[in-house]
Amino acid sequence: MDKINRGVLENLLKTMLKIRNFELAVEKNFQLGHIYGTAHLAIGQEATAAGSIAAIKENDLITSTHRGHGHCIAKGADLKLMMAEIFGRSTGYCKGKGGSMHIADISAGNLGANGIVAGSAGIATGAALAAKKLGSGQIVICFLGDGALNEGIWHEAANMASIWRLPIIYLCENNQYGMGMPIKKATNLDKLSDRAKGYNIEGLTIDGNDVLTVYETVSKISADVRAGKGPVLLEAITYRIRGHSLRDAQRYRPEGEAKKWLTDYCPIERFKKYLIKAGYITQPEIDNITMKVNEEIDAAVKFALESPFLDVSKVAEDIYA
């Protein structure tokens, strides 16, 4: 590992804490009845979003998934506007029209979560095409679940990205399940990154719960991608600690599996230990960061709760430009 600047390390930790505690707040407020509908939590997967997005430039682009809060936060979203959206308020990113699965902030480079599995595979690829055409130097990270790699549109998009050498990273967060379907039953592969071979692009599998590995890998490949070496399929091994959505009876997974991942491989605890051990940071400093993060989240919840709903007379606005 090259020496990483302390600010970067602190930010990685801070982003992960933001994601974790934001998700916990969503969960709690759902239980309290403040959130109608559903959401898909990224608890346990903080390192992939935080590490990868920290490694690209601010004006680079991402597309996200139904499990998108983490990507959104790592891309610098305003937690107030996110929480307000999840609460369905008019002050949210989408005025309450989109909700958790459709948060986007195009001007900030977040081209949107997506309710359709792999629904953004083509969109991300098109953004990479446009970046290339416009010579903007931007690259795109297309976040995908493990299950998403089995959708046809991903195949079509990856092939075109390969032939046109587009500046895009398909970042597959392999959290072991697509809803209740273990990825080992949904594909016949040891490594999902082997899919890359079918398009003659680079494929890599990394520990997605080690934020530094994610950060360093994406730093390296993003430079290649930016230099025009073509797309990469990066598989980050991680685990979905919570159920698929806020309403999942979890009939399908072995008792204790989630708990084991949380105790043994929690990306946040691992990183904290590493930082302290390597002397980058002290426990009081961590506590301080955590406190600030929690304040921000509390403020976001307060903002959301106090925000008005959109007047129903405006329901059919925003359809056409």
Partner: protein, 324 residues
Amino acid sequence: MREISYAEAVRECLRQQMQADDKVFMIGEDVGLYGGAFGVSVGLIAEFGEDKIMDTPISEQGIVGIAIGASLLGMRPVVEMMFSDFTMLPLEQIANQAGKMRYMFGGKAKVPIVIRTPGGGGIGIAAQHSQSIEALFLHFPGLKVVMPSTPYDVKGLLASSIKDDNPVMFFEHKLLYPTRADVPEEPYLIPLGKADIKREGSDITVVATSFMVQKSLKVAEKLSGEGISVEVVDPRTIKPLDIGLIAGSVKKTGRALLVEEACYTGGFTCYLASEIAKHCFDFLDAPVLRVTGLDCPIPYEHNLENAVIPDEARIEKGIKEVLG
């Protein structure tokens, strides 16, 4: 008879049909241990095993293609598409392959597949998981389209759909799953193409589909207190359409209100309205009106969502408008 839910009625029908005919099997995303996103198939995998309750990768086009191919060899697959919105992905396979194969092959193929899928809004999951897009499938020859509105109907119509030798699109509704009613335990068939008068009346005919049948019945009940006699007709299968029964009712009452959850432009009731105009022109005392979803994607937030989907107030207003 015992009271069971719409979801239980679907499950019971699946169980009975799989027991009766070993060519019948289920295939879809998370139909196994997960039991389906709405729990419809919970427990079936324990009963029938992985061979009959096939969990698939997330690959909607492939799933439908596979069902078609299996059906050509005599199997009778019942596909579950987790949300009706996702039927857009395999549309080509459904409409262009399954629906046209028999014709293109000069009458020499049978494609007995059923695609079950929950449509509709109401649970706060926004624009890509809440649509009512059954009208798309109306437009393609070769398909049948079923929209059961009660636990009793869903069981009998699903059984007929599974026994049918043609591809059938079978639209359930998320909000109907928990609704309960008396359902016979033994298997029974309700023929495809027969509408049902859900409530008799004489002043106006309300034709409604799926969950809108339930809402219309509530309004009819309420209005009976005001001396308005509303006949509620449920087409049950929108393709083939029992225009005979519907037109008969409209000729009797002279007035019609059509209610559906789908977007206003291009919904099923457009077709229905044009058929009623054609069959009942000289019997109509007022224009046929339609109460439908707005031409708007389904929003996330609850009040907004409710503003898009027809509610009882809008149905009542529609009835009164037609009555003049």
